[in-house]
Subunit: 417 residues, 2 copies
């Protein structure tokens, strides 16, 4: 696959995240307008809601303030819309005059949460991440739990606090028990962390009581977002036994404003690593189900301009694919819904500078990271701006996700208990 | 508090679950009608949607197919509707003629899921249950996890498979690893269980980033339902480390069709047990926050008519109240939403015949229960009908929840992997 050229010249820049090949979906407002669906092309946002209202597009739910309506239309409608947009936006199109009134400069619009999140599930599917975390807590010989090589381990997360990139994040409070203390105290987290993840957006439902195959699961996926699963490690350490993470993760999860479609990522599929033990047949993959997507994270302290890249990794570092995670999720008969969001789990590569969390990058806070401007970090400090970036690199073009950022605010005061 | 008499005579029977004191809310259809909100009075269902449409009630969202609209109106509106209904239905009311066309015999209506469940969280807050389960897995000396006496432990559950009483339950499939095996297989659960719980229905939201007090949490609660958190113990045992239960619980959760309001339960508030260690101030209770509600479960094998009562316990057996659970849930800044459902956790009393799960009642399947008609059970068999019942006992009246039932169907076949 090479660059698909557009008459919007900025889209043809090889470093532009939004060439015609991409066409990610989001929700925007311009000044006081109502929120509606859009796509990105070059340095412009194309108002799909406006085009539908003008009769240029079929009624596909594009005037809604969320992508759920479009997702409900199903894969054929998604493909058909993509082809229609190629026609409108491709080099030599005769539709430019009709399209022009619906283009907005990207810097003039505000992006919103792209879809109503039905439920949020977070997985634990990166081999290196699971090994690192397990090593820290149980030693390298017992690092992987006995089920890890058989199950794409996941747990239900909290959907009410999923926010779009750019939303400030309030440092959470919670129960914390220092190692040397007998009892916990209630206070603000001192070990606030990121988790670099991709999020899978489920675009089609499955029925209650009816498991699905990995191939069916793959077809239900609408697209992917960048996802930062903010985590309070001190709250997590005290609360998570025996039933898993709860308030340590519930306070915020950030996602990118753009959902990059499965269609745009097709050229970047790649195979999983060799299986260390055979997988059960219900997890068998009909083809390559991982994606080659470059990921990185920067940290910018308050008042500084220079971001420091603290990690670089790749989505292909997963042991289990999103389709396998989704098939496992439905395996008990659990009904999946349009708008479900699946976090990949923290994506860590094999090298120390490719780990997806500060917990791993600073090895439990023991080895501070050096930042530009001479500062150091173990965990996140108030005012820090964390930003995830991701793109798949094609020949002469890239499929970008934009940014997923958040700035950490000090904890709120205690309510008057 | 004594019986509030109604001109609907069946509501004055001391054993009727739905006297005027109760007025639980639900959603019903009659023949081919659209679903809408209702209350129960004696052996009748009162069509609140119809009364709103007829101008007899304020516009409170009662024509909607879910209670969420009513809940969004807030506590003052809830109180005011209750007072209005006392006026319509109380003995000596002059409104009987206006009300009569909106009454339907209960046996002619079909009840639906009473509200759109935003998110579902399940807790682990019964001391005896936690001790029993811990004893089985870790021995009585290590039964309670170190955090248990400090935190109302909870985990996020799956909302998409919450169903109303009467819905058949498909036996789940999943990964199971027998103790003697090296690797798991994928098959249908052989240790299918109930969990006898109460569900708290959150009727008012809290803001992201803003913890709430226990007193505020209490005021956000709209009401309570019976809840059966169906659980596959064999799937759970293999999957739950390190991140908690997932597919072992995700296949189904049943709730009663009636939401009994906090107002109706006010006379039944009672105090928690003595605290074994002091609670942190954010969990301090401003008054009695538990409820005295009798609970029982029956099991009826397929083709048999005689149900066997397999346990009797009481909601006052909780260590943490629903208000404490909700305050803890929001403590990190997690936003709570209208329609959130909080499971209490399995409610077990101190005696062997007051345990809230088959896991405990048969002590891990080692001590089968004897049923009427001579059958025995360790875990649930296909065709078994499980039914939860609950009521608060007043002087000469009771506040009933109706039933929460489900019949277990055989597992679906494997998809063609």
């Amino acid at each position: 696959m090479t660059l698909l050229r557009s008459w919007i010249e900025t889209a043809n820049d090889p470093e532009c995240p939004f060439p015609l090949n991409n066409l990610p979906y989001g929700v925007f407002t311009h000044k006081d307008s109502a929120p509606r669906c859009c796509t990105a092309i070059g340095d412009k946002v194309l108002d799909l809601g406006g085009m539908q209202r003008a009769g240029l597009l079929e009624p596909l739910g594009l005037t809604e303030p969320a992508l759920n309506g479009l997702m409900e239309q199903g894969p054929e409608a998604w493909d058909s819309l993509r082809v229609t947009l190629f026609g409108f936006l491709g080099e030599g199109s005769d539709a430019a005059a009709m399209v022009l009134p619906h283009l907005f400069p990207m810097e003039e619009v505000r992006m919103h949460l792209p879809f109503r999140v039905s439920e949020y599930t977070d997985f634990y599917s990166s081999r290196h991440h699971a090994f690192n975390v397990g090593s820290m807590f149980r030693g390298p010989e017992n690092a992987l739990p006995p089920n890890w090589l058989h199950i794409p381990i996941g747990y239900n997360g909290r959907a009410s606090t999923i926010v779009v990139s750019g939303t400030d994040i309030r440092r959470p409070m919670g129960q914390i028990k220092p190692k040397e203390a007998d009892i916990p105290f209630f206070g603000s987290s001192r070990r606030l962390d990121i988790e670099l993840e991709m999020g899978t957006v489920v675009g089609q439902p499955s029925q209650m009581g009816k498991p699905i195959t990995v191939a069916e699961a793959d077809q239900m996926i609408f697209g992917y977002v960048l996802l930062n699963d903010w985590s309070a490690r001190d709250i997590q350490a005290w609360e998570y036994q025996p039933l898993g993470p709860f308030q340590s993760k519930a306070f915020a999860t950030s996602i990118s404003p753009w959902v990059v479609t499965r269609a745009a990522l097709e050229p970047f599929r790649c195979s999983p690593p060799p299986r260390e033990v055979p997988l059960l047949p219900y997890l068998a993959e009909p083809g390559p189900m991982l994606y080659d997507i470059n990921l990185s994270v920067t940290l910018t302290p308050s008042g500084r301009k220079a971001p420091t890249t603290i990690t670089r990794t790749n989505f292909r570092e997963m042991y289990y694919s999103a389709a396998q995670q989704l098939a496992h999720h439905a395996s008990s008969g659990c009904a999946m819904r349009v708008g479900d969001l699946l976090g990949s789990g923290t994506i860590s590569g094999p090298e120390k500078d490719s780990f997806g969390s500060l917990l791993e990058l600073t090895w439990g806070g023991q080895e501070p990271l050096k930042l530009a401007d001479g500062e150091e970090r173990t965990f996140i400090e108030d005012g820090d701006r964390l930003s995830l970036e991701g793109h798949a690199q094609g020949t002469g073009y890239r499929i970008g996700f934009g940014e997923c950022t958040g700035t950490v605010l000090p904890a709120s005061g205690l309510p008057d208990f």
